[in-house]
């Protein structure tokens, strides 16, 4: 009989530490809430806006990572799902004044019927007039983003279907195509009565998209659902599909169902993020939902680590920071300054190359490429210092933010391809270095003992008994099946 060793508890956290972890979490949440409250009171709108944007994009990146990280499917159509949620929320929450303006505007393509679509009218229709007062705006907003999420989830169902037949790059192209199709059809005559064509419409309430409480509340809910899903049996099945689809199916996982499920849940939260996003922007327009949005999300999840939800949030924080505080990158500077910047960048690149070669134990550490970079840096610095008349003038670095993010991504991919956090989730035991990365010495000795049959009486006895091979001389030989 097999001697079944009781494993040292599955989630080997002793109760005292669990209590400590909960206490620390509550403390951190308390401090966080206090800080947010103080910030809001201090009236730093720029910071509040950035934080709200972080939460909104966090909803989008965490949900995108359910497809990209957990299911292992490269999906490039997230901006399409967000658009559906965004336009739905925008239309349903448009305020009365804006509706009147659009109705009377000559360039508008919206009709009286489509402009009558609103959560208020919906609630009036079912006799819930109490919920149409200005005080209950939040109820209507929740209903609107929920409906936006549902519509996006339906689109997720459609986009997820090709994932059953296609794989890898081909599928990525299809998801990208779907995202663009959604954006382009939104502006066609088919839908322009709802979307106001390429014009879009302003007048969506900013009360929620720019509120830290609402955005972080939705983010908390999203992280709750997606992390609980990822670390459940369903999430394991999805990761199995990522690891080896054929093996997953051979082990009974219904691959089609789990792929579609991942797409639908992810698209739902993308739709919700889209609703918050239009509220943050205060209006709806087609160019709020460019592919660039998905690009930013991909940078965030790759930089943070597709294997870790907290890593994805960290990556999102970096991207949002660069977006909101990256203005100095795109200002007007003299060409002299740009030359200094170029010189510093080249020098940094040379330093990075040396560091890389040192980490990878490559010799010589100073590759000739590094010398070229250093030489370039020196030339740029000298030219800038001499400041000849030919380089007079100024230059504005449009798009520097995106370039900066791309370079950042390249650097992270070179030095840490699994992303900043890799597959580790942030946790207190991780922070306090209690997490185990391998067996302890004690376990190592125990292991040596365990795997040596000579030391064991039960299984060892059977295993160490020499098996007599077939006595027949003509028996085909071991391992030798070949002709």
């Amino acid at each position: 009989m097999a001697r079944i060793v009781t494993p040292t508890a599955f989630d080997a956290i002793d109760p005292a530490k669990r209590i400590r972890n909960v206490a620390l979490t509550l403390l951190a949440v308390g401090v966080g809430v206090l800080v947010l409250w103080l910030l809001e009171g201090a009236g730093s709108t720029k910071l509040v806006q950035a934080l709200a944007l972080f939460a909104i994009w966090g909803v989008a990146t965490v949900s995108l990572n359910l497809i990209n990280g957990t299911l292992g499917i490269l999906s490039l159509g997230h901006h399409g799902f967000m658009l559906i949620g965004g336009y739905t929320t925008g239309l349903l929450m448009l305020d009365e004044a804006a509706r009147q303006r659009i109705l009377t505007s000559a360039r508008s393509t919206m009709t009286e019927e489509t402009l009558a679509l609103s959560v208020s009218n919906l609630l009036r229709g079912v006799g819930l007039d109490a919920l149409t007062t200005p005080e209950t705006l939040w109820v209507r907003f929740l209903i609107a983003i929920f409906l936006g999420g549902l519509l996006a989830a339906f689109a997720g169902l459609l986009v997820g279907t090709p994932s059953l037949r296609l794989r890898g790059d081909y599928l990525a192209i299809v998801t990208f195509g779907f995202g663009e199709i959604i954006r382009l059809t939104a502006s066609t005559r088919l839908f322009s009565a709802y979307t106001n064509g390429a014009l879009g419409f302003p007048g969506v309430t900013s009360e929620f998209g720019k509120s830290i409480w609402w955005t972080f509340g939705v983010l908390a809910f999203t992280v709750f659902v997606i992390s609980k899903l990822k670390y459940s049996s369903y999430g394991r099945a999805m990761q199995a599909i990522r690891e080896d689809e054929i093996a997953a199916q051979a082990m009974g996982v219904n691959v089609a169902y789990h792929k579609i499920l991942g797409f639908v849940i992810s698209a739902f939260f993308a739709g919700v993020a889209g609703g918050l996003w239009v509220s943050w922007l205060g209006g709806v327009r087609l160019d709020f939902f460019l592919f660039q949005l998905t690009f930013f999300f991909l940078v965030a999840i790759s930089a943070g680590g597709t294997g870790s939800i907290t890593g994805v949030l960290l990556g999102t924080a970096v991207v949002v920071f660069v977006r909101q505080y990256g203005d100095p990158l795109e200002e007007n500077y003299t060409i002299q300054t740009w030359l200094y910047i170029a010189s510093a960048t080249l020098a940094l690149a040379a330093a990075g190359a040396v560091l890389f070669r040192t980490l990878r134990r490559l010799r010589p550490r100073l590759h000739w490429g590094s010398w070229v970079l250093l030489g370039g840096a020196a030339v740029a610095a000298v030219v800038a210092a001499v400041d000849p008349a030919v380089i007079e003038g100024t230059f504005r670095g449009f798009g520097m933010r995106a370039i900066f993010l791309s370079v950042l991504l390249i650097v992270i991919m070179v030095f840490r391809p699994e992303g900043m956090l890799g597959r580790t989730e942030f946790s207190w035991s991780w922070l306090l270095r209690e997490q185990r990365t391998g067996p302890t010495d004690e376990e190592r000795t125990q292991d040596a003992w365990m795997s040596n049959p000579a030391f064991r009486s039960d299984a060892g006895a059977a295993a160490s008994r020499e098996v007599e091979g077939p006595s027949d001389a003509a028996a085909p030989d071991d391992d030798e099946g070949g002709r």
């Binding site: 009989m1 097999a2 001697r3 079944i4 060793v5 009781t6 494993p7 040292t8 599955f10 659902v225 609980k228 899903l229 459940s232 049996s233 369903y234 394991r236 099945a237 990761q239 199995a240 690891e243 080896d244 054929i246 093996a247 997953a248 199916q249 051979a250 082990m251 009974g252 996982v253 219904n254 691959v255 499920l261 597959r423 185990r436 067996p439 302890t440 376990e443 125990q446 292991d447 365990m450 795997s451 049959p453 299984a459 059977a462 295993a463 020499e466 098996v467 007599e468 091979g469 077939p470 027949d472 003509a474 028996a475 085909p476 030989d477 071991d478 391992d479 099946g481 070949g482 002709r483």
Partner: protein
């Protein structure tokens, strides 16, 4: 009635007939080995049974019902699980997770119940973990304790084979198809796995179909042996009678060896 009945199975890939009119059956509680030279079509038979390929002709019946046309995961639901010749573990996941995943298809909670960790979901999750340790326990303590939480990529080759077998057992299947379970193992590990396969039948109650090249393993544990060559069944029966069959010797060792054997049999 036999547990598994394979009847006149045929499958070609383009011009190559990988399986041609193969029939055999497996009774409950048996260990049946399929042997044959490389490329004989052994793995193809497994792929046909488990629904990876659809047969061109013939029938596969499990517990009396035809399973042709069912998808791979439906076949697992019915009670047939397999291992792969070239290890297909979920490499970045832990040993425990690997063995839990194969039980997922028996989970009776929907995804919302799983997200909100309902009591019923928690109960099932606990019992899944018990099953996982029980199945890993077949291989002694070496896949227990901290090993449970190690990612598969740090395991030795032999331990990966063992994990894959535990994973197949955990599906809850009654019939296991093991594709070269001892490939890449040293003689000591091979003799150990031989005993374990026998215990899987005796203690675990599994019926086992085995594809193997190591003849002493096959000889020691098989109730019956099916020999394939060029996609056709050339012999079936007890190990000793099969390895003395001139046709089998010809398939493995060539015509001359077979003629010698024929003479020997005629003399004796």
């Amino acid at each position: 009635m036999a547990m598994l009945e394979v009847e006149h199975l045929r499958k070609s890939f383009g011009g190559l007939t990988a399986t041609n009119d193969v029939s055999f059956h497996v009774n409950q509680g048996e260990i049946v080995s399929i042997i044959g030279p490389n490329g004989a079509g052994k793995s193809t038979v497994f792929n046909l049974i488990t629904g990876v390929y659809r047969p061109d002709a013939g029938d596969v019946r499990f517990e009396g019902k035809s399973i042709v046309g069912k998808s791979t995961n439906q076949v697992v639901d019915l009670g047939i699980a397999r291992t792969f010749q070239n290890l297909r573990l979920f490499t970045n996941l832990t040993v425990l997770e690997n063995v839990l995943i194969s039980q997922h298809h028996r989970l009776r909670s929907n995804w919302l119940a799983a997200v909100f960790r309902t009591p019923s979901y928690r109960r099932q999750e606990r019992s899944m973990r018990e099953v996982a340790t029980e199945k890993l326990g077949f291989f002694g303590p070496r896949l227990q304790s901290f090993r449970l939480h190690q990612p598969v990529y740090v395991l030795s080759y032999a331990n990966r084979r063992r994990t894959e077998m535990a994973r197949a057992m955990a599906t809850g299947a009654k019939l296991l198809l093991l594709d070269e379970p001892s490939a890449g193992m040293n003689p000591k590990e091979t003799s150990e796995i031989t005993q374990i396969i026998r215990r899987m039948r005796d203690e675990g109650g599994y019926t086992i179909v085995l594809v193997e090249h190591k003849m002493n393993l096959v000889g020691e544990i098989s109730d019956r042996v099916v020999v394939l060559d060029y996609g056709e069944k050339i012999a079936e029966g007890e190990y000793r009678s099969v390895v003395n069959d001139p046709k089998v010797i010809e398939a493995y060792l060539g015509k001359k060896a077979a003629d010698d054997k024929r003479e020997e049999l005629a003399d004796g």
